[in-house]
Subunit: 247 residues, 2 copies
């Protein structure tokens, strides 16, 4: 079996501003559409890797601006969710999806148990261990921590247009979402839309937020609002103002 | 800084019957009262290490019998909760307790951040990674999994006698606890006693159960019922019969 990552390929977690002074820790599991070289294009056309199926368009840009403005630590994933979706546990059918939205992913079809484990061990565990160790550092220095996972969603899903523009997702811990409910005037902001914890899509906040007793939130922005760099900057500023008032 | 574990000391997780055919995966975080050699006795008298503060008396014996009777995988922790309590996140004051029940733990007083991180990285992360990888194996082979953590509690806590004999603890997922509620006739069986998730004592089921979407339960037996080997065997048989009916 060849290694999942080549010796010159970086580990999954890229930590920006590790010593940031904000209580917020931003996590962007779907920052990148890059695939490990060993996977080629997973049988997809190059242009399909620019779609939402491969990554959360705009989420990295918004996250970097927010990290910069509020001095937050930010964890980016260097690899595409098509290689391994780090916001899904290995039990979840979407962890290494054979179909994403309406697109078949040829390179994910019929993976053997050992091929799946190579991705789990090459991407999933190192990514979450890096987050865990960042949180450990803060814990032993008694620093306050609030987890915010940064996402974007596609305006049209399986042919149906979505009107929601900002989603505030939570599982058991609604406190931060409630505080932000009216922070985005003029934008259609909803709780637990377009997804919710019931869909099994809040794995990161479950392991690093709920299980550690840390407040957490999963933030979703419709990606047509943040496709352009200027819009990413504007949303970074909007979020910085919103979080300043509530954290 | 010396290493937490010497080269001749085994890693924290001891996995018994890894390929067991039962859907149950048993986890015993507090199986052992052994301390890594580098910690000496943490300033305690030898005999204090035989108390509940150091480990869950009888839990390993019961777990081994149950594992044997139902052919379950079983994960034992080789080190005492006084070194690191693997059912607590690093944020929790009880993870490396300075005081346990009424006993001061001199060797845990005033640990520096780097001393704490050495325990987190030497015990906590390897223990939970080993469990995670056991669960990954089952996931990629599409095996059904139910997590049961195996504990015992002290009959007298801070001078107050406890009448509860069996505790069935759950957080969001009550299904398995409800099924077992009447499985131990003649024993005082209660839900979410003598502890509950609100006390932050269900870290293992949170990360390996809830976050993975797997059913889970934390089982607590009062330790005076399982101090002797014969009683451990009898409780292994009693639990095997109970779980056979509900899993």
């Amino acid at each position: 079996m060849t290694d999942l990552l080549a010796p010159d390929e970086a580990p999954p977690a890229l930590i920006i501003n590790e010593m940031g002074t904000s209580p917020l820790v931003l996590i962007c599991e779907h920052a990148s559409n890059r695939l490990p070289k060993s996977m080629g294009t997973l049988g997809l056309k190059r242009e399909d890797l620019d779609r939402h199926i491969a990554y959360d368009i705009g989420a990295e840009g918004v996250s970097r601006h927010l990290s910069n403005l509020l001095d937050c630590a930010l964890v980016l994933n260097r690899y595409s969710r098509l290689a391994y979706d780090c916001n899904r546990s290995p039990e979840h059918a979407g962890a290494m999806p054979e179909v994403s939205e309406v697109f078949e992913i040829p390179g994910n079809k019929g993976l053997s148990p050992s091929e799946k484990l190579a991705r789990v061990n090459g991407i999933y565990h190192p990514f979450h261990l890096a987050i865990g160790q960042l949180l450990d550092q803060r814990a032993v220095h008694k620093r306050r921590t609030i987890i915010v996972t940064m996402h974007s969603f596609t305006p049209v899903f399986k042919g149906i247009a979505r009107t929601v523009e900002v989603g505030l997702l939570f599982d058991q811990d609604e406190s931060l979402a409630k505080k932000l409910e009216h922070s985005f005037p003029g934008f259609d902001t909803r709780m637990n839309e377009p997804y919710s914890a019931k869909d099994g899509v809040m794995h990161t906040t479950a392991i690093h937020g709920a299980a550690r007793g840390l407040p957490s939130l999963m933030l979703e922005i419709r990606n047509d609002l943040i496709t352009k760099e200027d819009d990413q900057r504007a949303w970074g500023e909007r979020l910085a103002a919103a979080f300043k008032g509530v954290t």
